[in-house]
Symmetry: C2
Subunit: 241 residues, 2 copies
């Protein structure tokens, strides 16, 4: 590899990966694991693209962003390598501890959900300010007073916070979490959170998703009614990712 002489130390800079690309990663990962199960050892990006209904250039770009070894023309990528690289990239290999604030209906639901572990997320403890709830356990996880947030987060060195409180308390809780050393927030409250730079907020807004479904349905039903009485004009519908 004489060509590389000019920049000998320049270790491959990790390229910027957009949120959209990041969002696609778990789909690749799942797909690859399935492929592995079937005994497939090498796979071309073109096949992945076809199966996942994605553009093939996009897949190649996504893969090349996280893959330490290059794909081989004519054959493709090594499945095991890809899985390993992707898990490293996503940080699934070092399990992440998290706290959850708001042990209401949705909070309980998430605490009871057993699916997070396989992605390396471990909800350690929950907080609430309802005296009835404090001291109880949900799915084996203690519910503590919100007054304990900073204390616990600092002591256990936790950096992920999940917010499932009602909208009107979300910002306040958010501030408290940030003051406790939380760096990434998974916000289920249907409000915008103001945060200082460097804190990532991922909004999981059920209301917003529902709005998208609901709106589509409304259009759909309304149009079909029109179609019945009127002439039908074909309209391409767009699916989102």
């Amino acid at each position: 590899m004489n060509k590389n002489r000019e920049k000998p130390i320049a270790k491959k800079e990790r390229p910027y990966v957009s949120i959209q690309s990041l969002y696609r990663m778990p789909y690749y990962l799942h797909y690859l694991k399935e492929a592995k199960k079937k005994g497939i050892e090498v796979i071309p990006a073109t096949t992945i693209a076809a199966d996942l209904k994605l553009n093939e250039v996009q897949v190649r770009k996504d893969l090349s962003a996280i893959c330490t070894t290059k794909g081989k023309p004519k054959t493709g990528f090594i499945v095991d390598e890809l899985i390993k690289n992707m898990e490293d990239f996503l940080g699934y290999n070092n399990a992440k501890d998290a706290v959850l604030v708001g042990a209401g209906s949705l909070g309980r639901a998430l605490l009871s959900y057993s699916g997070f572990e396989s992605y390396g997320l471990n909800i350690v403890v929950a907080f609430d300010n309802d005296k009835e709830k404090i001291g109880t356990k949900i799915n084996g996880k203690e519910v503590l007073s919100v007054a304990e947030i900073e204390n616990v987060c600092r002591r256990l060195n936790i950096h992920i916070g999940i917010i499932t409180v009602p909208a009107q308390h979300a910002q306040e809780v958010c501030n408290k979490l940030i003051a406790s050393g939380i760096l990434a927030i998974w916000n289920f409250a249907p409000v915008h959170l103001s945060t200082p730079e460097g804190i990532l907020v991922r909004n999981e807004n059920m209301a917003a998703s529902l709005a998208i479904l609901s709106h589509h349905l409304q259009e759909k039903l309304c149009n079909s009614k029109k179609d019945l009485s009127n002439n039908r004009k074909d309209r391409k519908d767009r699916k989102d990712t």
Copy 2:
């Protein structure tokens, strides 16, 4: 309004609203309802933008897309009007019935979650193929055999399906739902679903959201380690929506 003479019948065509814009609607709606509670009757788009940390042109565009009456320069929009228009647009006013398939951990969680009603979603019944579960009730909702899907959906005229089965069964369930007249699918399984045109699939991929959080945290913690030993180069972090 003589200017309008040229196209007299052309009723205001409902403009195309992007998924992103649609996603912002519930944030506006919540904000507006809060404003109303405080007794605010008229509000300028600029204020909304500032509070929600959005670009003001974006807000004006979003509002003008759904609002039947124009905003008034110098004063703004009528809060009540906006709320009404938005609820109509999102279809919150005519409650939507839905079925849920997969009464596992996540499915139970959603069935028990009481927050959907306020957005007009009503999960009527659940399906599973586990004999242990069939016949039981979760939060007052019956669990039926998956064999009943078509039967029930047709009879109750239901058009929204929620998929909370394990990834490997998601496509199969999806096909079944579509065959039963479902038009909009809320997919919680971490896989891509292939659907015919005209069916909307909204993916709520917890794994993918988690990946985004997880990756950010990894970068963050890794960088801060570097910063300690190394010189610190400021890096602007980007928040997602």
